[in-house]
Symmetry: C2
Subunit: 306 residues, 2 copies
């Protein structure tokens, strides 16, 4: 239950304002943490910045900042880990877009990294971004060494295999062009998408020294959020136009990829999204903190148009 005393002292969360402010904080920190474009090897650093500053929504780092602030941490102690998360996310996009993986030429309306540069440079840019993600956490002197190792461990588990993002991408590729069950589909997405979203919320809570029970609850909230994110992503692929989406819509269907609309139909997928949103919000009720901004994030994902 949210305590009314805390609620009354917390101004209503300004969703769009809060997002923009956090996005600017994150972009500024990323700019400081990444090697400049004129630093050798220039090609790799240009490719890194091309992909990191491609107009991404910064959903994961915003979730980390928001969760950390809900549990009482100041933004400045959260920022480096938020950037590390965005670096891991960006590296995965660069590698997923490669010809031997999803073979995408367009992302957010711009050429993907291997199209703008070349394949070797894209592979190296992704590799270097992953390295840098762990390195900047290890170097973050605003956090105790105990916290830094917890964060590296959390991020590693969420990004790697057998229980993280890389495992999800491998299973996704293995599932292409064959029928998958709804259970398999949720397993793939819980690894490929939700693992990093759960890590975002948990890392914010770890930095803010949330209790184990709070960590567990916030992880469950984020698991639902990750699922919601994937369902709305699949729906947008079917219903959005190329202009709002920044990539070719309908690509999943043509690739015979298992998606929520393809498995459940569009209407049922919408209902599933509503249900998952409700479950995410129900978990927040168990957290005795002003969780309104986390609820606002769930609302935003449910209603997103891009």
């Amino acid at each position: 239950m949210t305590r009314s005393s805390e609620l009354s002292s917390t101004p209503a969360f300004d969703l769009e304002g809060g997002f923009d402010e956090r996005r600017a904080l994150i972009d500024g920190a990323l700019d400081r943490l990444l090697p400049g474009e004129s630093v050798e090897p220039v090609s790799v650093h240009q490719a890194i910045r091309w992909s990191v500053f491609a107009g991404g929504k910064r959903f994961r780092p915003i979730l980390l900042l928001t969760t950390g602030e809900v549990f009482g941490a100041r933004p400045e102690v959260l920022l480096t880990t938020a950037c590390a998360l965005e670096m891991i996310h960006t590296y995965s996009l660069i590698h997923d877009d490669l010809p031997s993986m999803d073979d995408d030429e367009l992302r957010r309306g711009r050429p993907t990294c291997h199209i703008r540069f070349d394949e070797a440079t894209a592979i190296l840019a992704g590799d270097a971004l992953q390295t840098l993600a762990f390195q900047i956490i290890a170097d973050e002197s605003l956090l105790s060494a105990d916290k830094r190792v917890l964060l590296v461990s959390e991020l590693g588990r969420a990004a790697g295999t057998p229980a993280g993002m890389v495992a999800g991408q491998a299973r996704d590729l293995a599932a292409e062009s064959r029928a998958v069950t709804s259970g398999e589909l949720e397993q793939i997405h819980s690894l490929k998408t939700a693992a990093l979203i759960i890590a975002a919320a948990r890392c914010g809570a770890i930095i803010a020294e949330a209790t184990d029970l709070e960590l567990e609850a916030v992880g469950k909230y984020a698991a639902q959020l990750g699922l919601l994110f994937q369902i709305t992503d699949d729906l947008l692929d079917v219903t959005a136009t190329a202009e709002t989406l920044g990539k070719t819509p309908g690509k999943d269907a043509r690739a015979q990829k298992a998606t929520y609309p393809s498995l459940y139909g569009i209407e049922n997928a919408h209902q599933r999204a509503e249900l998952v949103h409700q479950e995410a919000c129900a978990v927040l009720e168990r957290i005795d903190k002003p969780t309104e901004p986390l609820r606002a994030i769930a609302d935003f994902i449910l209603n997103r148009k891009a």
Copy 2:
């Protein structure tokens, strides 16, 4: 200067025996730390083990163990970081062998990872190995959190960009098919090869709580060792047979890659190797520990046949 009291109490280093024993320790630890081949996603875990257990010499982890022991650490506290280093090295080999990079089909006499599996699996196997390297250090409860963050930071700097392995690989690719100066060649190799070898020695010394002066000296020794390693590698590419080398010799020359023999000629490259070996050994004289095993490693690299 090596103290004679310590020398007399240290048995002469049994080079081959010491190598074999350490290699067995490392292989056992890698087997424990890597996901099993039957764990999903099976393809990625098979690809990881195919590449990690490919008959590698374990030069970097052996150097880490040896350096740590010279400075007084027990092997068991060194082993996880040694494995992390081998994982980073193996991930870099998998990605370097890809068609868009060095396009190698054979390594140590066996098909490379993307040939045995496929490109997507090889990219993911490399990605997951890098993640796991940082994660296992963060999770190593035998080391203090302070040491763990130092090690993640050290390894990150050595593996990434602008001052590590990925930067070296990018510069190496950029230098293909054009004339490079000897200065450029040394810069490329100091990043691509020596950075991780320096990290091996420094990580061992960090775990063993060497002083800053000792760390600096052991880093200089390892920088020479890295250079020596590269010169002898280039020489073997020219002089060895496919059978002893496990890959097609002469490939560098056909790819018009800058190498020590191509820049200096074979005889001068041999002389350069001798000189670098002497410099490595001279640095060891400044370390007041029983450094004989480190000298033995330098001897071994100078005289290696594969």
